[in-house]
Symmetry: C2
Amino acid sequence: MGEDFIQTVLFQLFVIIVLVEVARMLCNKVKVPTVIGEILVGVLIANTFLYDFINLGSDREVFEVLKELGVIFLLFSVGLETPFSAIRKVGKTAMFVAVFGVILPFIVGYLLMIGALGPEKQLEALFVGASMVATSVGITARVIRDMNLMHTVESRVIIGAAVIDDILGMIVLAIVVGIAGGGSLDIFQVAVVAIEAVLFVLAIIFIGSLVLPKVLKKRDDRKVTQVCTAERRPKGISPLPLALIVCFALSSISSFLGLAAIIGAFLAGMAFAEFKDRWPCEEKMEPIVEFLTPFFFVFVGIAVDLEAFGELGVLMMAATITVFAIITKFIGCGLGARSLGGKSAAIVGVGMVPRGEVGLIVASIGLGMLDPETGLSIIEPGLYNAIVFMSLVTTLVAPPLLTYTFQRKLGKKCEVLPPDVN
Amino acid sequence: MGEDFIQTVLFQLFVIIVLVEVARMLCNKVKVPTVIGEILVGVLIANTFLYDFINLGSDREVFEVLKELGVIFLLFSVGLETPFSAIRKVGKTAMFVAVFGVILPFIVGYLLMIGALGPEKQLEALFVGASMVATSVGITARVIRDMNLMHTVESRVIIGAAVIDDILGMIVLAIVVGIAGGGSLDIFQVAVVAIEAVLFVLAIIFIGSLVLPKVLKKRDDRKVTQVCTAERRPKGISPLPLALIVCFALSSISSFLGLAAIIGAFLAGMAFAEFKDRWPCEEKMEPIVEFLTPFFFVFVGIAVDLEAFGELGVLMMAATITVFAIITKFIGCGLGARSLGGKSAAIVGVGMVPRGEVGLIVASIGLGMLDPETGLSIIEPGLYNAIVFMSLVTTLVAPPLLTYTFQRKLGKKCEVLPPDVN
């Protein structure tokens, strides 16, 4: 029994990893972000004989955990590239870009769904709005780095805004998950959840990014001035275990508070970013992320039912959501960056378009939560498919548009390589 | 539901990792191998309120997988430090040490159990014999490295013998698992399993360590002489995904053949050891091992029922198995190394004593397999506890004995730091 179960899981892992690797190599060949390949592997498995071949019907719990660990470590590593100090440095412009780029897609997404599904579908509309909010900081940063344009003003604004945007997206997600957990749209409850979410985020930022670094620095200074035995200081805990402990602790707390676990993971990463010298955990974290994260994207794809796109309604909805996701982000962020001039604002607007992982995370949380009134998933499968479609297209569309707008501004040929979240 | 389940698992992971880290720091303080701390964490959880507190009764499947992944990656990384070439270099002595050190404990362990439990307990006796066979190459190597004595003849013999011993242990384990799977002690079946195991091991060694390196070298040479475009050669697959694919592939095959999955993982690591320059995956593998391996040892400990030691029988059995495990390994290996002279033979004998992970792996496989005739676990819980006790004590006893024997030989003070499998 035990050995059979393990045998099945090992075989499933083998097949999935091989397919992911093949998909990655193909993506690199056609210069497409590898995350798209990973999602398509999931779609392939779900919609062909492969699903039964690797016996995925049973034992989904194991992959639920691998998937969740994958996304938790991914968000931790995104947080790790997002020190609080980096947010302070990027000035007003980035803040405007982020705020407009969050408000416009959220409101338009929400209204779009209310218009399409009727005013009783509040939770569904909120989730779609939330899934249209967050720019994928991983994909954006990777595209710009691959273009060797990290030094431009536009790039700095995009990265800064993407960072703030990520935090705002987390807060929006926290609010939406909190409301959905309560089951109804009670203004008092919204306020409680919002305050809880904001307080949690601010508390972690305050403690992790402001208080702790100062306290530790002071302690170190005192030690050095006292006896100058910096080398003799006991080594203490090593970076990886500490990172794992903090990451799981904040994910758990965040989850117990009714917020999404990944919010805690992101904050844990952000707090750790302040301690890179003391506990350098990036290199050690990276292989774990590389091993586990594909499971998230593959299982995002496995939830996609291709037959659903046969329905005209789903196809229309996917197209509509995608178009509005691109337009609202472009206009919102462009407006926020208008002080930089038209061509630069266009670059910033385009650079903020890719939704990637965060939209998918929101959608899959919505798919996993049940509406307490109807007992069905908050995001019904057809709508889920539409959101995944939107994530795929916004991610695919951004790199060529970025190249084009940068060329228009800089007037030279700048090549863009495919981004890659890992 | 989904979120609740994830919430529980995250909290369990958090508690386990914190306890493991505390245990590790305590172990380092009292200079004891950290693996012992990890096992004791499991014993602590299983025998206190903690078990119910973190709700471990439910969802054991997830931890079954984490545990299995932990031990698979551990054996892969042990294999990675065991290139086939290293085995060839260590001459006859290491081979004698390994062979005597395998045969004596196996036979004595087997006879001991037949004597104690009666001749009908063939499977149980075989498993106990097998669990007394394999020296923990990880622990031994770590102890010697920490003593800075890698250059001595004795050390080289110990490492070489530990490596061969590991392979012999794997073959013994494969045979025993195969016999247990069949359910009876049929000589024809033993032969089939033994041949299957030996052929599988030899085939992987032959292909992975002899044929592939030559083929790849030839291909590279041809490329260089043709157009001298070594740099332009496409990068191809990166080391970590390749390592994961090969590791899961060989584990699966090994498991499908009825051998233990870890045998495949060990062979995969050994094959990879030949390609360290081409696909350096050690650094990337290490954090994954560090993250997952403790789950194996913790869950080894969780299976220990302290109340069982209340029974005089179990306590006696634990003491007997432990004493014979130490004596048989010491005498067997000492005999194998007698050509080096008495003092050196004593060092080698002592150095091969620690059983560590491999004995535990054998015992936990035995605990997980059911006897087809009685329907009970092949290794019943009392006996399992005795084997875990043996692993703990042999691991604890080796470092001080190694220090003592090395001092007797070299006549100088050589400090031994606690070994650490990770």
